[in-house]
Amino acid sequence: MTRPTAHLRPSSKPPAGRPRPLANFFTRPQVIALALVLCVNWLLFPGFFSITWQDGRLFGSLIDVLNRGAPVAILAIGMTAVIATKGVDLSVGAVMAISGAVAAVMVTSGQPAWLAVMAALAAGLVCGLWNGILVTVLQIQPIIATLVLMVAGRGLAQLITEGTIVTFSDPVLIFIGTGTVLGLPTPVFLALALMLAATLIVRRTALGLLIEAVGVNRSAARFAGISAGLLLVLAYTFAGFCAATAGLIAAGDIRGADANNAGLWLELDAILAVVIGGTSLMGGRFSIPMSVLGAVIIQAMNTGILISGFSPEFNLVVKSGVIILILILQSPISANLLRRKTTAHSDGARR
């Protein structure tokens, strides 16, 4: 009988350091997936890549993809922070409805637009704070804690709008939804700005590392001196803020706050975008730009289905088929295959 011995020596080589973001960019499965989806769109509709300058802004299907994908991309930015802490925020869709409702009701009752925007963003922050407090202080599982607001929030939004679609003609709110900044639709500009700001803040400071530490092991992080509770509250509040921004865009886009439908099921799209972007639902290492890329992939697929001329009964089947394909591309199996191929290739090149 042999006694079990501890294998102190690692059986495999230690993992290589964090890959250089730009060097490996084009071999990432997400980028390949996006390229594939775009190519299919191009095959279905040859004018897909044509972009023209019309009425002082860029105009084309590719711009539509970015524009329509912006709300989910913004949700995904906030969702990435939450998921990196091993949490999840199901309430972002409802928070979108609340923020749109607040802004619309305020401008229609004669308040200035800047105040309405501030109030909508504040509403989002409060919703996020509420989620954060439920998760940290009351120690409720994130999926349940945010489910509360997912259900109640939409009701709250309906109360604010009294169950009607509140239509407005305020130029500032309409600008947020359909305006143009530097030739780009405002939502695209906002999503890019938010992505850059968030990425710089988490990567140029220790914040990103601390969030990952909390996500990997909250207790260990706390023992290491990280105020895990504060970070969690911060992550949920940020997600609430992002959701409020997306809500303003959704309302401005249709010039009205539709409490029943604004942001409906978008929390699931946002989670999917984060997962496609490679952030694990188990928390830990995360990437905000990749989540945004995930959102763009989802929207490229949606737009592709719209212009393909398939009958609508196929929408969900096609969508889930493509998603499965992307997830297979990302799975460890195909990652190994890909790595073997590229290392073989580079070995060959060295020789």
Binding site: F45, G47, Q54, D55, F59, G60, S61, D64, R68, Q158, E162, G163, T164, I165, T167, T178, A250, D253, I254, R255, G256, D258, N260, N261, A262, L264, N302, T303, L306, I307, G309, S311, P312, E313, N315
Partner: protein, 323 residues
Amino acid sequence: MTVIKKLALGAGISALMLSAAWAEGLQGKVVGFSQIGSESGWRAAETSVTKAEAEARGIDLKFADAQQKQENQIKAIRGFIAQGVDAILVAPVVATGWEEVLTEAKEANIPVVLLDRGVEAPEDLYLTSVASDQVKEGRVAGEWLVGTVGDKQCNVVELQGTVGSSPAINRKQGFEEALAGHANLTITRSQTGDFTRSKGKEVMEGFLKAEGGGAGICAVYAHNDDMAVGAIQAIKDAGLKPGSDILVVSIDAVPDIFAAMVAGEANATVELTPNMAGPAFDALDGYLNAGTAPAKFIITESKLYTPADDPQGEYDRRKGLGY
């Protein structure tokens, strides 16, 4: 919008509608109304019109909001039976599972009128059902387009409702029936806009891009007004004029489509009247006072509205109904 203002407006409208049918009829009668909930603007309008109709006839209306749950509706109906009301109105949330509670109402000799949707139960369990004919709605919209376009070649794009929902299926069918036999009218693209403004806008954007910037589209048919409102914005964003470059026809007749008509951006809408209660009360009046059994299925009118029908006036009239 204050509640008082809403009520006053609603009462005013129904006073107008009822001026002919005004009778002692249901004065002082107690009627229970189990409403589905308030999931859409139309539903809210139906509730406020029903309340106004009841008030104008001097009916004591007991209102119960089921919040989208059948169990709540069944509870409410049992409550009405226990209170011994004179009649019950139900807008059923689903089609099945009503036999037991309807039998209880029948045994208590309380007539039940179904509003807006039907149920799968023996017909003798309820007095009558008041609903719109969704196929006809689509047909009226299609006939308007056929008449307007004439002999010109016209490519139509269609914004469908939620896939698999009965209004989407029926309104599509009716529209296709109207277009059948007119070879110059073809539906070139059809996608779902989920009955929402934002999806309607997004789908229309895609259509416009795919059809050469809108050059290949002569008309858009939306299964509800909300999607049409979204489509109108997409058409404007593409640099075209909705209402003239691309004709816009839809169904429901909510206030915002009349606002679009005032601006010359929508061409026609078919009304899904929120006044299901009016015909229901008329039927009850005849049944309770004269003992005449009404028709088993009362179909409400599917009236066509165009910019010639005083859109500003229609907008003002409907705005207060809670759409």
